[in-house]
């Protein structure tokens, strides 16, 4: 198994179909295939152990990804927002390596030990060049590493998740039908290459035969403009992107693209009001919530379009709540909720989400596999399953507040606060408490013009949950800190509210 096999099949069956474009730079499946072969030859000539990329989206990303797979090197997409010491530390962990980057970076990084630099422009020239592509002789060993992906490190030193060819290929074969896209379909790719969703989008686009339109730097106006211009039919966004797209629509500066049939979202918790507003602004669009982790080769559970409509329109509060769920596991993926001792809990009870399946890696470089008996991966995400098997994700286990021996899930309290009409966003974190060890603190972003008081919101929580869940400390903020892929930086909130 090799991710190259996916491109080879696509190039055989859909050779002249548009594969990827960025601005005016367009590549067919056949061009991408032969280009990857030239990149592979070049990578091999360098005597390196990893093929890294420090750049925004462009056709150089799939060319490097497949070129690396062809040459038998792990592909390592690095976060292009990293600078200085953080970047140096990651580079030191992957050398000897070739690094594809923009011209400015290439000149800054010159002279590093073990680092061979190729600018994006040079890489595209190699791929377009007249050199013979490598023989189609890539390894088919499923255990070879396809991608090394550094986790965002919001809680400490980034870990390098090991995604082997078997994991990525299993994910694609399990979730995408070959050549399922119409020739006129187009997917707008705005997830950055260093995010697992960006990698998954490339492989899905190739295997389904859906033209990929890359947006290197996201902003809502550009996203909407490109969606109109390219008659985009499919897209994936993280929650913060969706919120900004809706804000942009609500200013009246743009209208929703009628071509957009399917909009998937994931990568962080989607506040209910945001998805409800999105469904209002895109009445004809099918929404899919995709829940997954880097360590599981992206999506493991989806809430599909029909379930969105059913939940949104239901008079039954339990069914309506499912709009905030991650849906049901993909075929071939199993999910269990377990307690602290690792024993499965009763339906409806909270615990840690465990997952098992061919696409689940659960391995970090240098730390080995975190899989437990039977091949289960403890995700460190808290959650529960309802009677019908819908998965509710309630934040990282590490974020749990331990108040007088009782475990409180921030997600549960945040869900209740989000239902208050004057709460735009919120983050519940532990704060030091002399009596209970930890107490409940919350940073609230009020809706525009709202002056709702702390007392009103405390009473609101008390009305819906046990009194131990009522925040004892409430602060009002203009906005919450998120990283660029929509992940709430909970640690920053915690520090600001006086927690360690």
């Amino acid at each position: 198994m090799n991710t190259m096999m996916l491109l080879e099949m696509a190039a055989q069956a859909m050779s002249e179909r548009a594969a990827v474009q960025c601005g005016d730079d367009r590549w067919t499946m056949a061009e991408l295939f032969s280009g990857a072969g030239r990149v592979a030859s070049h990578f091999r000539s360098l005597g390196v152990e990893n093929a890294a990329l420090l750049d925004v989206s462009s056709p150089a990303v799939p060319l490097s990804l497949f070129g690396a797979g062809w040459a038998g090197l792990p592909f390592v997409p690095l976060n292009y927002r990293l600078t200085g010491d953080e970047l140096d530390a990651l580079i030191a962990r992957i050398t000897p390596a070739v690094l594809v980057t923009d011209s400015d970076r290439a000149s800054q990084l010159e002279g590093r030990d073990g680092l061979t630099l190729i600018s994006r422009k040079e890489l595209l020239e190699i791929a377009r060049g007249s050199a013979e592509p490598a023989e189609p002789d890539w390894e088919m060993d499923p255990e070879e590493i396809a991608i090394l992906l550094f986790t965002s490190g919001t809680t400490g030193v980034p870990k390098a998740a090991v995604l082997r060819h078997k994991h990525m290929v299993s994910y694609i074969l399990g979730s995408v039908e070959f050549m399922a896209a119409e020739e006129s379909d187009a997917a707008l790719v705005s997830a950055p290459p260093y995010h697992v969703a960006g990698m998954a989008a490339l492989l899905s686009g190739i295997y389904s035969g859906r033209r990929m339109v890359q947006l290197p730097n996201f902003d809502a106006a550009s996203w909407l403009g490109l969606a109109h211009k390219e008659a985009v039919t499919n897209a994936f966004v993280v929650p913060t992107m969706l919120a900004r797209i809706i804000d942009e629509l609500e200013t009246g500066a743009a209208i929703a693209p009628a071509s957009l049939r399917s909009l998937a979202y994931g990568g962080g918790k989607m506040p209910l009001p945001v998805i409800e507003r999105a469904m209002h602004h895109f009445p004809e669009t099918a929404f899919t919530n995709a829940y997954g982790l880097t360590e599981t080769s992206s999506t493991i559970a989806v809430l599909g379009p029909d379930e969105h409509r059913e939940a949104a329109g239901s008079p039954d509060a339990e069914i309506r709540k499912r709009l905030g769920s991650a849906g049901k596991p993909l075929p071939g993926v199993e999910v269990e909720i377990r307690d602290e001792a690792g024993k499965p809990v009763a339906i409806g009870d909270r615990g840690e989400i465990y997952v098992r399946g061919e696409q689940v890696s659960g391995e970090y470089k240098g730390r080995g596999s975190l899989l437990v008996e039977g091949g289960w991966f403890p995700t460190n995400d808290g959650g529960r399953l309802d009677e019908e098997g819908y998965l509710f994700v309630e934040g990282r286990i590490d974020d749990v507040i331990v108040r007088g021996g009782e475990n409180l899930s921030p997600g549960e309290i945040e869900d209740v606060l989000h239902e208050h009409a004057e709460v735009a966003d919120c983050a519940v974190v532990p704060i030091p408490d002399e009596q209970w060890g930890e107490g409940v603190g919350v940073a609230i972003v009020r809706t525009r013009g709202s002056e709702v008081s702390a007392e009103t919101l405390q009473a609101w929580v008390k009305q819906h949950l046990r009194s131990s869940r009522v925040p004892q400390h409430v602060e009002f903020w203009d906005e919450l800190p998120y990283n660029e892929t929509g992940k709430l930086l909970r640690r920053k909130v915690k520090e600001a509210l006086g927690g360690a």
């Binding site: 055989q12 499923p142 050549m179 389904s208 899919t288």
Partner: protein, 102 residues
């Protein structure tokens, strides 16, 4: 013989078909394409005629399963022969409709 590993690849002896194993039951499997036993993907082409009873063709990207559902092959290159297990033709597995998630 242990179960074939997922990812193992074969080619037809008598047409262009290539397949990859997605799932396979334990035991010796008599896999064929076009009426002739499947070969390891690296083997030299054997040549020969396609059996007229096994000439329905294979389609790239489609999955083929046995009746029990424990054998599943993915066609990675199409050809004119058709796949069989122990002489019984494999059937096309219906594509499941999943929402696009990325």
């Amino acid at each position: 013989m242990a179960a074939l590993k997922a990812g193992t690849r074969f080619k037809s002896a008598v047409c262009a078909t290539q397949v990859m194993v997605i799932a396979a039951p334990e035991g010796d499997l008599e896999l064929s394409c076009g009426g002739s036993p499947l070969l390891d993907v690296t083997a030299d082409a054997a040549g020969g005629e396609i059996d007229a009873d096994h000439k329905n063709g294979t389609q790239i990207g489609k999955r083929y399963v046995n009746e029990a559902g424990d054998l599943e092959l993915l066609c990675t290159k199409p050809g004119e022969g058709s796949l069989a297990l122990g002489g019984t033709p494999l059937v096309l597995k219906e594509a499941k409709a999943l929402p696009s998630s990325d």
